[in-house]
Assembly symmetry: D2
């Protein structure tokens, strides 16, 4: 924290701010300047809300300095975290040189539909299957998912096609079941700051895929991950899925620059979801290429064997043929970055 004094602040006011800082058990370091004085603060600042200094006489503003996260930071662990996901057909790695592709339908609708998608995405080379059994929907009148029945269908597809299962938990009850049936527990964008759910995920023994909230900053995403790590689960993958802006040609604005930014700040892998990130199927392939080119550690893609008849998010699901082309292209691009897909 740095306290910047007003240009006309008196020495007495500077002294009063320093005393207040020291009354919190911290150290104050005044830096007199040509125009104004700034005061640096050191010590353990977690316990106090230093923002209140801003209301003292003569103070112009307070500027936070150190980053609030610990366990997720590169400073704590400089080397990349590589997550290992065991599947019936062997381990899948995410992070480091490994780029993982997760693909499948938005929602598990029927056994047939799920199996059709699983077969096609596996044939195209993906080794992780996505599919929602619990669907957070804006409207209470929309299809909310098959629940436990959906999880059972996914578990069956796992054995039949040898794919790892990635699926979303929306509350503590569903998380218990997802932990039992799936390989990766997904926390959706709307729940990124559902701290109760994050803590529960931190006590799970399966990797977690944590999606960035619609208007979350990178720091907030990292702090949400910190909740999970601080409970003992270090296997967290971040996921960019588009943020909300004024821009109206896509449903969300995919913020690909967050990939190198997250990789600089944190050792955790970061994936990209171009399906939600654009909300438009015509853009999914182009943005998938871009995501791998920018350095993402993986992709999560909605693939439906008959997207025009999907029960949810059909607009952003691609057909298996398109997914096949996508896989070919992203493998070539990964090679330019000396990385391998799956």
């Amino acid at each position: 924290m740095l306290v910047v004094m007003q240009a006309n602040a008196t020495e007495e006011q500077v002294r009063a701010v320093c005393e207040r800082i020291e009354s919190f058990g911290l150290r104050a370091h005044p830096i007199p300047g040509a125009v104004r004085t700034a005061i640096g603060i050191t010590g353990n600042k977690d316990a106090v809300d230093l923002g209140t200094l801003e209301s003292l006489a003569g103070v112009a503003e307070c500027i936070p300095v150190s980053k609030p996260y610990k366990l997720v930071g590169r400073e704590m662990k400089p080397e990349d975290t590589v997550i290992t996901i065991p599947t019936p057909a062997g381990d899948v790695k995410v992070g480091g040189v490994h780029v993982a592709v997760i693909a499948g339908p938005c929602a598990v609708e029927t056994r047939e539909q799920t199996f059709a998608a699983a077969e096609r995405v596996r044939a195209a080379g993906a080794r992780l299957l996505r599919g929602g059994a619990y669907k957070p929907r804006t409207s209470p009148y929309s299809f909310q998912g098959l629940g436990l029945d959906g999880l059972k269908i996914l578990a069956e597809a796992r054995e039949t096609y040898g794919v790892g299962i990635v699926t979303e938990a929306v509350d503590n009850d569903s998380l218990d079941l997802v932990e039992e049936y799936a390989d990766v527990i997904q926390i959706g964008a709307r729940n990124m700051q559902n701290f109760s759910l994050l803590k529960r995920a931190g006590r799970a023994r399966k990797p977690v895929l944590l999606k960035r909230g619609m208007s979350a900053t990178l720091d907030e995403l990292l702090m949400a991950a910190e909740y999970i790590l601080s409970e003992g689960n270090y296997q967290v993958m971040l996921c960019e899925r588009g943020v909300r802006t004024f821009s109206d040609h896509t449903r969300n604005t995919l913020d690909l620059s967050v990939v190198p930014a997250a990789q600089r700040a944190s050792h955790l892998p970061i994936l990209v979801d171009p399906s939600h990130g654009t909300g438009r199927r015509q853009k999914v392939r182009a943005l998938s290429r871009a995501a791998v080119a920018v350095g993402a550690d993986g992709l999560i893609i909605e693939v439906h064997h008959d997207p025009d008849r999907a029960l949810s998010d059909g607009m952003q699901s691609i057909a298996p043929e398109e997914f096949q082309l996508l896989m070919t292209e992203v493998k070539e691009i990964a090679r330019v970055l000396d990385r391998t897909v799956n």
Copy 2:
């Protein structure tokens, strides 16, 4: 839903789109124009994801037309909903001509601090006390609230000062307790789309204060309220608390125009939280005046008896003296609109 065809779409393509629409059990209404054809759709559209029409040959775009909410809408119930909150000192009403003021500390820290705040806000004329026992915090290392002990302190303050209690629930367990101890159940901005929690709130028998998410549109806020009403709880108050934008002179951008917009679309009362809405104590009084002037049905304000030493959000809490001035001003402004405060 309206389907707009491309300028060069053939009659056959128009027919194919109409057939697809009718295959869903809906009716298609082609409107030939000078440059292009548009196709209106009627019937029960809830069951199908019409966005997939966008991928048919010759289609330029699909435009949603009717609003997705039902129970919260003015069309369903034209007159204003007035919520009644029973307190030891008589009922408090919110909505219609009644402007309610909820005030108190961000967090319940101690019995003394809570009582000091309760006494002062009651003396200034507020009849509803806020105070967090469960605090959703960005960092796992920040003060998370006193939990049940906090609720008990609030319940005691209720009896001592005759105030109604408004406090936040963050998951199903805390909601059970909040419903037991408090008068109004608050759902915070970060949980606005925690649909599991919304459904639980819909089964509660106490009024709910639902805060707008940081990047929620008005439609999404209304749909979140619809979740609560659809479970049988019709006592919902909306609350604007600032949205996230590029604008950096305040912590959030308070969107006061949502007040008349919500009142036009819905019969539910809408309050304003200028404390979170600005994040700066120097602006709370000015924005409180503006909120009442724009027509808000109430305010929720952070007041701390010693704001510079608050454990959370001290920067945005005002002192009791400032709150007293605020009450005087908003009462005068309410009178200009023929409304009464509390």
Copy 3:
């Protein structure tokens, strides 16, 4: 500027940063902390781009500290600037205790329409007439204004109804003419960073009304005003007109909290435009009340004698009857703040 070093930065790296700073002719002030070192910088920083320090080894980030504006700042001139606008019916003041109302049609369409509006807004108590002779329009195919003929109509209305004229200039040529015919030169939101035009306005001898750009921060608005003052014209009024956000229930999101923020940072008056700020006529009156309640130094409102037939922005223009009600309400609210309208 404050340079924050990484936690593991070596002493050598700290020294290298200090040397680089001093090579720019500035002074470096290292502040060693428990976890990391920060380095304060003093001296004249205008000449160098200190951001490049961020790329030196061991540097975590660079944080700007002092504000870049000078002439527009409160530190330079603590008391409020009050602008005086001479009209045929006497001076109109803006700022301090004076709240000014500028009203009239979006565009000057005909002499009759302009006079009809001028008569009605004058009768309702406004003393400044707005009306565009040069219209910046998104489409090249939309009505672009009457140009010089429009200015002449406004000048005639000035003499006939005793009102001061506020109208927009869109380039240097139109600014020459606006300076000749009108009383206040308006710079529109789209031109807020048209620095060539700002400099020309700085050499004009008439007051300037400078609108905030659609995505301008407060600092950028103040720097744009600084361009005008730095050329010698100190008579500048700022104007909030809504910013661009994801929020879709209004055309723009009116950011009323910028009013107290601007007044804290700068001595210049700040007005509010609720017509563009909402883009919806049903909200203009409510937001006008809110603007005066928050402390704005004036309003600029679109009034058309027959808004349903306006050539531009009819959706946001109000009728004279509505404007009359608006004036009554804002006068009462201004009184609560010990201010007078016009």
Copy 4:
């Protein structure tokens, strides 16, 4: 335009809306639905502001349907526009299969610095040199460019290194000179809606590079291009350079999904500026790869031979060695898309 009536609108109200529409010389097409009626409108809508229909009795909302641009649209010209830029070393093409790279310093500072940059970017394979002679700067106290002297330095570099010159014009006077000395006239983001300047650019006989405004939608960008085309200059290249959002890990949020969106809507080529788009030199190479992978028709990159000592935007300029690596990578990625760089 589609007018949606309220659920309870009477037949009389529907008829009144139709009559109003027809009074404008347009045709009304009522579509009765199960719940409500919608009314389609056809005919030449440019002359009237149909938004005013929204205020008629019984109207719920008005939804614009057809796109406002003509000359820039794919419907007008289905095949890609390929721009040819003549340079002393032969033509450079942009669009179609051709990906162009424009590189060079933010500002022309000295002859030596410009030549050093020109030599290095040419050696790395770029054939178009950027460099600002006129710099739009937020602060009036920042370096504003060398003006005509800068243009002359660029023209000399053109002959010495055989590169085409791309440089910004900020007003009509500078545009006259840029047209004379340079090969491509750049219009910056802050001037995207400086319609006076756009019209002047439309009368120039050199290609124009038009940057997207900080908060411009795709439609607004296309309409700005339409201004240029409507004056007779069809050689326009669009350029994404990041938009303004809440996201704070980069200076702007690079919106790469606008590339496929623009290419779907328009035949004009679209480039990407990852230097301004991120504002951080560490991210430029990664985002350049992503831009080419998403399908951009070119890149514009800030390269400075000694970026830590640049007079402007040093934070986002990369060194020649980094640029060399960038060129190698983007060429390999372009090959995956069957395209060639320069």
